[in-house]
Amino acid sequence: MDLHIVGAEANTDERAAVDAALGAPVTGWDGGTHVATRDGRSARGGREASARRDLLLPALHAVQDRVGHISHGALNYICRRLSVPPAEAWGVVTFYHLLSTHPAPPLVVHVCDDIACRARGADGLCRDLEAAWGPPLTHGGHRADPEAHRGAGEAGARRGWMRSPCLGHCEQAPAALALGAGADGVREEWAPVGGAAGIVARAEALERHAGAAPLDEAGRLAALCAVAPQAGSPSLRILRRVGVVDPERLDAYRASGGYVALARALDMGPASVVAEVVASKLMGRGGAAFPTGRKWEAVAREPARPRYVVCNADESEPGTFKDRVLLEGDPFAIVEAMTICGFATGAEYGYVYIRGEYPMAEARMAGAIVAARAAGLLGPDVMGRGVRFDLEIRRGAGAYICGEETALFNSIEGKRGEPRSKPPFPSQVGLFGQPTVVNNVETLANIPDIVREGGDAWAGIGTPGSTGPKLFCVSGHVARPGVYEVPFGQTLGEVLALAGGVPDGRRLQAILLGGAAGVFVGPEALDMPLTFEGARAASATLGSGVVLVFDDTADLPDMLRRIAQFFRDESCGQCVPCRVGTVRQEELLARLAAGGGDRPAAFELLNELGQAMRDASICGLGQTASSAIETAFARLDLHGFGAPR
């Protein structure tokens, strides 16, 4: 295409970072050296030149990691390399909060102030940090005064911080994510952070190149045991290896029953594997609870090729961290499950889309993929059986919406992470417009057991309407926060008890089920069975398995406003109800919190707004953005907001 690229050129660092991600340029036309005798006579453009658009986000990550921000020159160079119009690339850069458009300090600490961390003192931590390091930076930097973005003083030139939505470490709240730029830039999750002092100490250690040493096997297992308190219990299925089997060793995985299922699947043949998954009645664990077998069947039935398998590991629902635990604690199981899925549905390639806030999970998955490939468990001839399947990881860049499956496809394709209209569904028109199975991490984690044990037998676990085991992310005011596995059918009270209940003799005030997109329930809901049908009967949702507990000290109005802010921040901006509605919802909460005015009218408007967002938004984000707030007003006693009806 006739790109119009003007202005700055990339510097050496930027070019090196991009070339490391994309390979060196081939001709003078795509950013390399112009050789007149060759480039003056012919050039390849058109589709071939722009066929690698999906490498846009990896290239942007490469520059962000190396330099700390995306300069005009770097953008231009990437555009030339990938034949992407600069305006479109700019649209992509400014979509993601982990990409900065202005120079930023070499170390930026993202401090979670979302609901779970807030329940555990994140706000105070942020105040303390502000006292130490000055005011926070803003996300992306593209909205802020670039000078303000740089941070203050000499220390400000070396490090900065910003507030972050949920980082997925709710069990060890409050949490932070340290992102450093440079050839040796760190990407570390800090949880628990140990207060502002802990953050300052860790940052200073990094600056002295005295950061934490890599964990050994015992350290790895101990860290996992801390987030999965049931570790080692013989009753576990999905979590059976977490904290017990070293996640970095393929031999350990195989010694614990790994890859038995893939071997069995290859013996059974694709159709039988799909049939077993259908028989299992496994429902998706990402929040939408769609029957997994039906997705697989639909893709296997499509005539179009190629087909793709996508693992949705963009776990960003506030309060959710189960997928992270699986990726960190049992990555080979996910690789094996995706391979089974590819074989069963006729897909030869898969992507694992991991949120950018999960460097440890990404590293563990990357290690597992390399090891599996080396052992012939991925590649052109899986297990020597003539089956082709391979996988790659794509890293998210700070956008909750990319957990929506079609937004995730767009993100992989190098576009803005805006959801698409459905239908057509991914099974027909998915990634790159091809039939695609997209499954959540926890969903996939069940696949090896289903193949090994048979779908019917596996369906005996749980209840008839909600089969199998389920992970719950219990956080907030409980004695032992963490990820818990129970068979479907246990009550909310039983799961709460597993986590040690509300500590310190405090009273349970409310529970947020399913995350920010979920619902609030009060103490009267403790007897509710945690099943899809039980939740439906109680006008609740299990969502992604969030059980976020608030005792009577929690400031629920503040939590509601944080939730409203979350949706306002995370709306992609595509459709009117969500783009403007999430802003209006936040404004209305502020108006109510301020007191005075026509309160009944404000509540009526809030409800009408909620209905319109639920009915008319393109995707689940807008459709659920009012859910927690509406259920809170309906079911809880919100002193700060007064009683609505």
Partner: protein
């Protein structure tokens, strides 16, 4: 060359008049719109079906010549059995669908969407929205005086267009016309996200520093006057823009040999705007910079 050659005699007509290959027949799809049974062809949208049934469904981001983005959500209708409302403009009609185009849910959604737009965007030149606000009883004032808006300074950085993004409803039409639906120049895209999402060149550089080639196809599809050609902008500023006094005539562009139809808008013996009919097979409503703006020579005094 002999005198009986093709050079001297026109070839005879072929015995069969050449025609384009026949389109594959499309199966009929029967569905119900507001209780009325209608039939459309497979591939047609719910909006097509609504129009067949004579039901009026408002649209904003939809245009026949552009790929539906269904971002405005004004065209939502209620489908029996569906959890949420469906966008008529992009949803394909399916057999047996039962559609309500004016149910209370539909009307509430449209009213709120209109209120959200009117409370955040300057719709003063968005002519097609004004009657809708009235029809749906929209009261944008409900959100209060402090409601956030997209108000911002007008971008006036070149001689041909003015961009007033305080009037932008983010319908994506300009991006699509600049992009793969017509012009393929990609000078603009949506940048930022959420309420900060906006139409932008790379790094928000002024238009003359961008890839823009000034075809004005973005202006032609803009439904709110956020994008406006200079003559119209200046006349409006002077409060002299008077569409009711304008004569509108179709002619053919005087430049290259493609033969684009120009719709010339003349006010007081001056060409004030040039557009092209959206249903014209050659242009589909799109023009190039010369066709849309190259008429000034007609008024060039004193040369003429």
């Amino acid at each position: 060359m002999s005198t009986d050659s093709l050079w001297y005699h026109l070839p005879p007509p072929s015995t069969v008049v050449p025609t384009p290959p026949a389109e594959a027949p499309r199966a009929p799809v029967a569905l119900s719109i507001d209780g009325r049974e209608v039939e459309v062809a497979a591939g047609d949208t719910v909006l097509d079906a609504c129009r067949t049934a004579g039901a009026s469904v408002p649209t904003l981001c939809y245009l026949e010549t552009l790929t539906p983005v269904n971002a405005c959500r004004l065209c939502v209708v209620e489908q029996e059995g569906a959890r949420v409302l469906v966008p008529a403009c992009s949803r394909k009609a399916e057999p047996g669908m039962k559609i309500q185009t004016a149910s209370p849910r539909v009307r509430t959604a449209r009213k709120v969407v209109l209120e959200l737009l009117a409370s955040s965007v300057d719709l003063s030149t968005a002519g097609e929205l004004t009657p809708l606000l009235e029809e749906y009883g929209a009261a944008p004032g409900r959100f209060g005086a402090g409601a956030a808006t997209v108000a911002q300074p007008v971008k006036d950085d070149n001689d041909l267009y003015v961009r007033d993004y305080g009037k932008c409803v983010l319908c994506y039409k300009c991006v699509e016309a600049c992009g793969t639906d017509a012009q393929h120049t990609f000078a603009i895209a949506v940048a930022g996200r959420g309420f900060q999402a906006h139409i932008s060149t790379e790094l928000d550089v002024p238009l003359p520093d961008s890839a823009c080639v000034y075809c004005g196809n973005c202006i032609a599809v803009c439904p709110t006057g956020a994008l406006m050609a200079k003559p119209e902008f200046l006349l409006r500023q002077a409060e002299q823009w008077a569409p009711e006094r304008q004569a509108v005539t179709d002619t053919i562009c005087p430049y290259c040999g493609v033969g684009c139809t120009l719709t010339v808008h003349v006010q007081d013996q001056q060409i004030v705007k040039v557009t092209s009919p959206i249903d014209n097979g050659t242009t589909r409503g799109h023009l190039c910079v010369k066709g849309r703006f190259g008429f000034e020579y007609v008024h060039s005094e004193p040369e003429r």
